[in-house]
């Protein structure tokens, strides 16, 4: 699934996002410091914001084209979005959260069934709980499952492990790898953790002050080691 971002522009308070690139990895990392425009870029792809110029295409379908006045609303994009805090609906149970985006009229792609998603993410024991009782890691797994069950053609993950402590992050990384391998849904993964890029991603986009400074294989910007380091070349 190719994501084409052509001449994408949006002015922000502290920087101006200007992106002209394509994303084609199974899991593309969007890497950069806080305030570099990572979340803004995801929101433009998801249709949660409108750019002032440019075009967003996913799998050959134009979703945003400012010049042609095309803007597909977020609910019609089939793009899943998991924000940093998971954003589970607090008044609904885990099961109700999980099935919120299920569409009976559209046949789920193979594997993206309720039972299979719940099994892969190991949340079967949680489905009848309230979301307030979940730990941070459980909330993220439920949020991931909820996004997957809407059968997205692209999944956007905005620093899903950022709010968690190091041991929990390590425990959750394999779940993300299983999602990548099991469901074949292409992902754009925002992070500022080199470990997560090296563990999950086959493509990386580095952002600094709203501009792309690198796009390519993770090995091009990270020195592989027990604790990978970012080296801008």
């Amino acid at each position: 699934m190719k994501v084409e971002l052509t001449g994408l522009r949006l002015a922000q308070a502290t920087f101006s996002l200007e992106v002209d690139t394509g994303l084609s990895g199974r899991v593309t990392a969007v890497f950069g410091a806080s305030g570099s425009g990572k979340t803004t870029l995801l929101e433009l792809i998801a249709g949660l914001r409108r750019p002032t110029a440019g075009c967003v295409q996913v799998g050959g379908t134009v979703l945003t084209d400012v010049a042609a006045r095309i803007f597909v609303r977020p609910e019609r994009r089939s793009i899943g979005y998991v924000p940093q805090d998971g954003a589970l609906f607090p008044h609904l149970s885990v099961r109700q959260n999980l099935i919120f985006g299920c569409n009976d009229r559209v046949a789920a792609p193979s594997g993206l069934t309720f039972g299979h998603v719940v099994e892969v993410l190991e949340i079967a024991s949680l489905v009848d709980s309230g979301v307030q009782t979940l730990s941070g890691g459980e909330q993220q797994r439920v949020a991931l499952g909820r996004a997957l069950l809407a059968a997205p053609r692209l999944l956007l993950l905005d620093e899903p492990l950022a709010g968690l402590d190091a041991p929990l992050r390590e425990r959750l990384l394999p779940y993300l790898a299983r999602v990548r391998d099991e469901f074949q849904v292409p992902m754009v993964y925002v992070t500022h953790s080199p470990d997560e890029v090296m563990a999950l991603c086959d493509d990386v986009l580095v952002l600094a002050n709203g501009r792309v400074t690198y796009r390519g294989a993770p090995s091009g910007v990270f020195v592989p080691s027990a604790t990978p380091r970012f080296v801008q070349r």
Binding site: E75, G80, Y81, A87, F89, P90, H91, F100, A150
Partner: protein, 222 residues
């Protein structure tokens, strides 16, 4: 209590309930627009809505009297179109209490909507829910306690309305006499026993409404 006191209490509860029901959809819609949408004229509307809170109620009543009277812009049209008289009828009481309690409802409802995390609504959109479904399944349930608290506060305000009501509807026993108007009337006549009986009823109802409103607000902040 005397039969008259029961009648006055029933009438007051009826008009306060009706005025709250009438303003509820408009107040909730306006509060949502103020909380969630930028639009031209928003500061002007915010100021206009808040005016009855700060203007003397009698002045608001005079304005309503001019607008709703037979020769008024609105009252004349309503009487001509529907054949309804507003001034010095129960309809006048409902409109006066509705106008006076509307700002309280809008303020509470606006805060309730502002406390709903917009990120939840955005995520719901990415899960395939259109704006209407997001409103009914995410925004409204999460704001509901603040909305109920606002409605109860508006109801309590409607129960005690005096200044605007006396201007628009006057004191007509059996037709427009609310608890507040009747207490004033009984005191003017030196009927202290009757006045204190109505005062007791007013305190009990107002206490119940405000207590319930606070309870809902505490629940929504928990």
């Amino acid at each position: 209590m005397s039969p008259e006191a029961w009648q006055i209490t029933g009438f007051t509860l009826g008009v306060a309930t009706l005025s709250t029901v009438v303003i509820l959809p408009f107040g909730v819609a306006l509060a949502w627009l103020l909380a969630r949408r930028p639009w031209v004229g928003k500061p002007l509307v915010e100021t206009l809505v808040a005016l009855p809170l700060v203007m003397p109620p009698v002045a608001t009543g005079l304005l309503l009297l001019k607008l709703l009277g037979r020769r008024g812009a609105i009252g004349g049209w309503i009487e001509h179109t529907f054949g309804w008289e507003i001034v010095f009828t129960w309809r006048g009481v409902v409109i006066a209490t509705a106008v006076m309690s509307f700002p309280l409802l809008v303020r509470s409802a606006r805060v309730a909507f502002e406390q709903v995390n917009p990120r939840l609504e955005q995520v719901a959109r990415t899960l395939g829910a259109g704006p209407v479904r997001v409103w009914w399944t995410i925004t409204l349930p999460l704001a509901r306690r603040g909305l109920v608290a606002g409605a109860l506060l508006a109801f309590a305000r409607a129960l005690g309305e005096f200044g605007a009501t006396i201007m628009v509807a006057g004191y007509i026993p059996g037709r427009t006499a609310t608890l507040a108007l009747s207490i004033y009337h009984e005191v003017q006549l030196g009927h202290d026993t009757e006045a204190f009986a109505l005062l007791g009823v007013s305190v009990a109802i107002a206490f119940g409404a405000v207590w319930a409103s606070e309870w809902f607000l505490r629940r929504s902040n928990a």
